[in-house]
């Protein structure tokens, strides 16, 4: 089975969130399946738009203090009906970021990971050599 790879590096700044999520949803639209309904195809693309928007925001917002913004690298792996995105940033480790909020109180922050986990099939968070990697995938 052939798989294709696309790698993009963006500056770790808020103003590039939209660009990152649009690249993700456009890449996901390459997967339109004629056997699926228009709604299902659109859902697939929107899931990536949302997940990448959340993940990129997370990567940018948790920048190390008093450091210049670090670049964020996004790798897309396109298999036959599955898209996997891996996002790498060199900011503070995942484990030191705010934990999941108490949903009963409807807080302002912290829904990001919940949203990613709900719309994606698999999500993994790892840290390698000072780099945080979030990997998410979804199959159409």
């Amino acid at each position: 089975m052939n798989s294709s790879n696309i790698t993009i590096t963006l500056p770790g700044e808020l103003r590039f969130i939209r660009l990152a999520s649009k690249i993700a949803s456009n890449t996901a639209s390459l997967f339109t399946e004629t056997r699926k309904t228009e709604a299902e195809n659109w859902e697939f693309a929107h899931a990536f738009e949302l997940a990448v928007s959340e993940a990129f925001t997370n990567a940018v917002v948790h920048a190390k203090k008093q450091a210049a913004p670090q670049p964020v690298t996004i790798t897309f792996t396109l298999e036959e009906r599955k898209l996997t995105i891996a996002m790498r940033d060199s900011n503070v480790p995942f484990s030191t970021r705010t934990p999941s909020p108490d949903p009963e109180n409807y807080p302002e922050n912290g829904y990001g990971l919940l949203l990613i986990r709900t719309v994606m099939d698999t999500v993994t968070l790892t840290r390698e050599n000072d780099t945080n990697i979030i990997t998410m995938s979804k199959t159409l």
Partner: protein, 455 residues
């Protein structure tokens, strides 16, 4: 750039619209009883609850239906989608728990579009009849609730459709769907009288007998109507289904069992030689709809294999039971020596209910379960177990014993339930667990007898 698909605006011909508003608080009992079931899909006679509402809306001439919830709509939206399955246009919107009819109409004003609107509010069952014409509801000028009950109502808003008709409205009754008990009674009622009133799933050569797809019925299995059976069901030889039985989908009824006055929900296995009467069975739980009492079996099956029962006759179990019997003999010996002659003289050495005039001796004898004393030596000889099945028969799956598991369990002891509980424990109980159950039986027995006297 990908765009979300357009929701087609639908008919503009001002046909009546329907709002179905079901709040989480009314459905929460379903989540507690059946954790993996969405309340709107609760099957009543193998037809999901929401389909009854949709059928009624269609009978009333409504094709555009909006589902309103104060909780998450994602699950139900994924299952029901656009409603094309039923020939309606289904949309979804969020409301707040405290919203009343006024708020519902405000929040869905664009959907209602000035047309007559029917609001089905609450988790209730509508007693309608498909042979009647409910389109008069759309043509009528009455507004406000026309039927209500403790947990919901049917109300109307908006002007009547053209050709206003003030003929009397058909009588409509709604029943609250607020507990397993009401769910059970409604399902039984549908089974008994509903074949004509509702569109029910299944194929049947005669009314009162609806059977789904891929149902394997053994030659010696018997079906006594009225009965409703789902899809992918196996009825093994010697089973008797009905009267008044609802069997869900993906169910196996093993050899020789009988089901009557009961509902077996999806994905349930009923073991051999069981009598299920007046109960609800779901997965590994058996429920009495009237009292709400339930027994959960650890296995995903209601299990009673004959082969398993004989395996449990191990040396360890026999040794431990004998030890327990020996201890019990020692403990009871002195009270027996004192009380037995007294009670023999009084003619009260019988295992009857404790009356108000029970003397001290009799009460003491009952509390210590001294009536079982003569049987204890048999445990030492290996002829009986200390705890198992009673009556102490030798039928397959039974382990004859001094006390019975049913006496230990706080379970309404009718014959069939006792058999299930006893055989389950006979298979799954460890010898040490048995000791605990014996002590429980010793404690519970006097209570049972008291309850028997009081009843």
């Amino acid at each position: 750039m990908p765009q979300p698909p357009l929701r087609h605006p639908g008919n503009h011909n001002n046909a009546m619209k329907t709002l179905i508003a079901i709040k989480e608080q009314h459905q929460s009992w379903v989540r507690d009883a059946f954790p993996n079931m969405h309340p709107l899909l609760l099957p009543l006679c193998n037809k999901p609850f929401i389909e009854y509402l949709i059928d009624f809306a269609i009978l009333a001439g409504s094709r555009e239906i909006r589902l309103l919830s104060d909780g998450s709509l994602m699950e139900i939206e994924e299952i029901c989608q656009t409603g094309s399955r039923w020939g309606v246009e289904l949309t979804y919107a969020n409301i707040r728990p405290e919203d009343g009819e006024r708020e519902l109409l405000h929040k869905n004003r664009k959907f209602c579009n000035g047309s007559r609107t029917m609001i089905l509010n609450g988790y209730t069952f509508i007693d309608y009849d498909k042979r009647l014409d409910y389109r008069v509801l759309a043509n009528h000028s009455a507004t406000g609730p026309i039927a209500s009950c403790s947990t919901g109502s049917i109300a109307f808003a908006g002007p009547p459709e053209p050709a206003a008709d003030d003929n009397p409205l058909p009588a409509l009754r709604i029943t609250p769907l607020d507990s397993l008990r009401s769910c059970y009674h409604i399902a039984m009622q549908i089974l008994e009288t509903g074949a004509e009133r509702y569109v029910l799933p299944g194929y049947g050569s005669e009314p009162g007998c609806a059977i789904g797809r891929n149902v394997a019925i053994a030659k010696t299995a018997e079906i006594r109507k009225p009965v409703s059976i789902g899809n992918n069901v196996q009825l093994l030889p010697g089973t008797i289904i009905g009267p008044m039985a609802v069997i869900g989908s993906n169910v196996i009824i093993d050899k020789g069992s009988s089901i009557s006055g009961s509902i077996i929900f999806d994905n349930t296995y009923i073991g051999e030689q069981l009598e299920i009467e007046g109960r609800i069975a779901s997965g590994n739980t058996l429920i009495d709809p009237e009292s709400g009492a339930s027994v959960a079996m650890e296995d995903p099956h209601l299990l009673t294999g004959i082969h398993s029962a004989t395996n449990s006759a191990t040396l360890l179990r026999k040794t431990i039971h004998a030890l327990a019997a020996a201890i019990l003999i020692l403990l009871q010996a002195i009270p027996v020596i004192i009380l037995y002659p007294l009670l023999r003289l009084q003619g009260k050495w019988k295992n009857g209910p404790i009356t108000q005039q029970a003397g001290l001796a009799e009460t003491l004898a009952a509390r210590l379960s001294l009536d079982r004393f003569p049987l204890l030596p048999k445990v030492l000889l290996g002829q009986l177990a200390i705890i198992g099945s009673a009556p102490r028969s030798n039928s397959p799956g039974c382990r004859p014993a001094v006390f019975s598991y049913a006496e230990a369990e706080d379970w309404p002891v009718t014959g069939s339930d006792a058999a299930i509980v006893e055989r389950y424990h006979a298979v799954h109980s460890t010898p040490f667990n048995d000791i605990g159950m014996t002590i429980k039986a010793l404690i519970n027995r006097p209570h049972k007898r008291n309850a028997g006297a009081a009843a």
